[in-house]
Symmetry: C2
Subunit: 228 residues, 2 copies
């Protein structure tokens, strides 16, 4: 029997790399998709290439899509990257690092490839616990996208193709994600989480992604190999 | 009172140009968005620029997004452009010119810009009558995208923003679209519909888009200014 196929949305960060390792562990043939969307933290893309190689992606596509054209986010250079909020996970506020419609664009690109591949699933490293301020990381959002995928595609409308949107980390704490990465033997030194690294890829230690990552490693009782 | 704002998905074809003119007529301040998605028919993009100029777009963004990376369609070069099908509008078959998930990708990009602009609507030239083989031109698909948009966005989740997906041509025949374009004083010579034009932009006359367009002009009793 042919293995199940999955498109993995791979940013090069901790969450997407652990998601990839998880999909692989569950027997999927993995096709990695990285978007070059004008992010400040280009080092992510280099890390994504290394991760795709180490985890044995069947293919790795890096697709240009210029979200910078629209502005509106600290991650595409429109406004400065803020330091971590004091109240992490505060539902009432969407962080400045939110990129308008990013997950919708990424999932759409994943959908295009998934349809061509006749893939069984798209895996996304969305996480609801630490990033509850991002609307497009919520379970109801992901369910709506899955419903859309069925209507949107040639294969889905024929009834012979069912695509799942899988977000295995959705309800995990960052420390649980770190532990899962270790359990799956993933080399976490390859992952880059910082929103504002220097030209060598050294994390700033101050942005929200750095603070969450460090807290996660600390609570998991692990050293973060990217922190010198 | 500030005018309503709309993002217009503008390909440079007949349908999207008429849609733009329609939105303008209905009082929207129009922001034109064209995707350079690796289509064979690049002339469309040049025409989109002219149309955006003539119709007075508040801004026109041409966003690179490499759908060619995924293959799977005649329109991105993976397979030859087929001649028109003998049974136009046959529901049972999706044409080879279908681009996987194209409308989902285009609407996602529109959503990103719409969120930054706080636009009231995204206008898309989707048409259900002549292109019933494209799953992402169906009314239920567009409704699903509108539901997704609300869940996907920072503004939508706050409840203070309601984005409409408007497809005014959805149920119009091609001849009705030609007539509407004339009623709106749109210069139809600026529009390009052919899937496989030559380097001068001259339509091939044989592909499905050409055949539908010619039939539409003929039924409307109009001469097509792009046909010499």
């Amino acid at each position: 029997m042919e293995p199940k196929k999955a498109v993995i949305l791979l940013s090069g960060g901790l969450d997407s790399a652990v998601t990839f390792a998880f999909a692989k562990e569950h027997g999927y043939a993995c096709y990695a998709l990285t978007a070059d969307y004008g992010q400040r933290h280009k080092i992510e893309i280099e890390r994504a290439k290394e991760i795709a190689g180490v985890l044995g992606a069947c293919a790795h596509k890096i697709v240009q899509v210029d979200l910078q054209a629209f502005g509106g986010s600290a991650l595409t250079g429109a406004i400065p990257v803020p330091d971590a909020r004091t109240t992490i996970g505060d539902d009432s506020e969407v962080p400045g690092t939110y990129v308008p419609a990013r997950n919708t664009v990424l999932l759409s690109l994943g959908l295009a490839w998934a349809e061509v591949l006749h893939a069984d699933a798209i895996f996304i490293g969305a996480n609801y616990v630490d990033y509850s301020g991002y609307p497009d990381c919520r379970p109801e959002y992901l369910e709506a996208f899955q419903a859309l995928a069925k209507l949107a595609t040639k294969a889905g409308t024929g009834g012979q193709w069912e695509l799942k949107i899988e977000a295995p980390l959705l309800k995990m704490s960052k420390s649980r994600i770190v532990k899962l990465g270790k359990e799956l033997d993933l080399d976490l030194s390859l992952t880059s989480s910082c929103y504002n690294p220097d030209s060598q890829g050294t994390p700033c230690g101050k942005c929200e992604a750095c603070v969450l990552r460090r807290k996660g490693f600390a609570e998991a009782g692990e050293d973060d190999p990217t922190v010198k």
